[in-house]
């Protein structure tokens, strides 16, 4: 079935109908989440009780809006903190890895490359428990040996950041490596001929060339960190990021305030996602 080969009208029509149904299936859950954020009722379900902004700006119980709900605001702050760290670390290490894999050849390079890809095929829950077990073992050993407390190695934000960093770095490495591979080394050589130092040439020529990929992977890292659930679930301590807070609220029974948060998340994800595509778009 291709455009140049004619097909019976009925088959074509069925195909179109299927594609339309598929996109409806994709859009439906997100659409209802958004719509019920404006329902003037304490349950995110029918019947429709009228339009309201209360779940965003409301101040009186039970209509407490997102912007006045302490626990959710705090969780958003925690998520942003984690995402900033994860993104910065992942991009820094990812850039180093890109230079290592594209510019250097050494023994065991292909083995190291496969090891670098491994975090992609380890289920997030397993990644979480393995880091939890390992960090606790170190903490126990250190505490037995020194008699001091090592709270940083107990479930908490540090472990959440490390856990997310451990697999998001792979994505950053792949994105930045792909861009570095397209770089023409003669540009850097020209800079060296013109008297630049090695580091100077990289800073002035190579890094600006890599910038779109670096920005794109930073945005993708923030997005992935914000949304991560499985790994975070196993490593979280007393301060929980947004997805964990929402999960707890969802299990207790939800009010449309969750729809309002979700709507904000959907808007944020769409903006960040499109941003990452724009960065990666070849300009020349």
């Amino acid at each position: 079935m291709i455009p140049t080969v004619p097909q019976p009208g009925f088959a074509k029509w069925c195909y179109r109908a299927y594609v339309t149904a598929f996109f409806l299936y994709l859009a439906l859950p997100l659409a209802v989440v958004c719509v019920f954020a404006f329902n003037n009722s304490v349950f995110p379900s029918l019947p429709w009780e009228g339009f309201t902004w209360a779940w965003f700006f409301g101040t009186e119980a039970p209509f407490i809006g997102v912007f006045n709900e302490r626990s959710i605001l705090r969780a958003i702050g925690t998520s942003a903190f984690v995402a900033a760290w994860v993104s910065a670390l992942a991009v820094a290490v990812g850039t180093c890895n890109a230079f290592l894999f594209v510019r250097h050849s050494f023994r065991g390079k292909s083995l190291l490359y496969i090891l670098m890809l491994l975090p992609l095929i380890i289920p997030g829950v397993i990644l979480g428990i393995s880091i939890l077990v390992f960090a606790s073992a170190i903490a126990n050993t250190l505490e037995d040996a020194t008699g001091l407390w090592f709270d940083g190695l107990r479930p908490g934000l540090i472990l959440v950041i490390l856990g997310q960093f451990s697999f998001i770095t792979t994505f950053a490495t792949l994105v930045i490596s792909a861009r570095l591979q397209k770089f023409d080394p003669s540009l850097e050589e020209a800079a060296l001929n013109l008297g630049a130092s090695k580091l100077g040439a990289i800073r002035q020529i190579t890094l600006p060339f890599l910038m779109p990929a670096i920005l794109a992977s930073a945005v993708v890292s923030i997005l992935m960190s914000f949304e991560n659930f499985n790994t975070t679930l196993m490593l979280v301590g007393s301060e929980s990021p947004l997805t964990i807070t929402m999960f707890d609220k969802l299990k207790q029974g939800s009010t449309p305030v969750l729809n309002a948060v979700s709507l904000l998340l959907i808007v944020m994800s769409a903006v960040l996602g499109i941003l990452s595509l724009l960065f990666q778009k070849p300009k020349r």
Partner: protein, 288 residues
Amino acid sequence: MTTDGSKLGFYLLLAPILLWLVVLIILPHLGLFWVSISEKIGPREFQTGFGNYVTFFEEPLYWRTFARTAIMSILATALTLIFGFPIAYYIAKLTRGRTKTTLFLMCMIPFWVSELVRTFGWMILLRETGVFSNLLQYLGLVSGPVEFLYNDAAIMVGLVYTSILFMVVPLVTTLDSLDDSLIEAGYDLGGNSLSILREIVIPHAMPGIVSGCIVVFMLSLGNYLTPILLGGKDSLWFTGMIYTQFITRFNWELGSALGFLLLALSSGVVFLGLKLSRQSLADTMGRA
């Protein structure tokens, strides 16, 4: 490119990746294995042995849940392939330029959104007081509220929804590279749509099908949110058991053993898929 001056640079570049992989991936997994073969014999007293694995095989609840998770994941993978293939084909072969970009983008937007939000959406749609139940009552097809949530079908809908993009993207990439003239030649030689699909399109798309299936199976197996929120009391999922052992029961030894079994299954399937399709991990994952 390597000169004497860059020797130091090379080691400086090697340090972060080694630190990352050794400290956060390799050592934790060795540690996990070590804990999984420790048996508790008293307070803070352990001996080495495979007792936790024996528990897994002796307790029907554990291995049944394991098998159930694997079978449901295979089913989810098959459904995702069946539903995703026509979409990928439509995007790759029947649309051009702007329409293609738009459709592709429309496929991607739901997956930028947190899985929690997507699952929440399905809960609103499927629950007893939800949209579908009310719609059916409004249409007069049923007399009372219907509960669509908390069963295996709901889990399946959620799993397919959550992972379909990871099937569509590799399929679009491979189908894009299939030259239309090959399909035309098939028609010229007297083939019909079905035989062309079987003889030309599917063989060409095989690498995409394999990498899509591997990723979808892995994601379903390791999923936690969808089965827990959409499934009922009897719809156990293996990741849920691992969570229970670790966080609720505080039995890390058994939890580690269960975790290791899940990891073994997931890696085994990836390995098998790659072997069967004669692809390397680098090619398959690099495409994602």
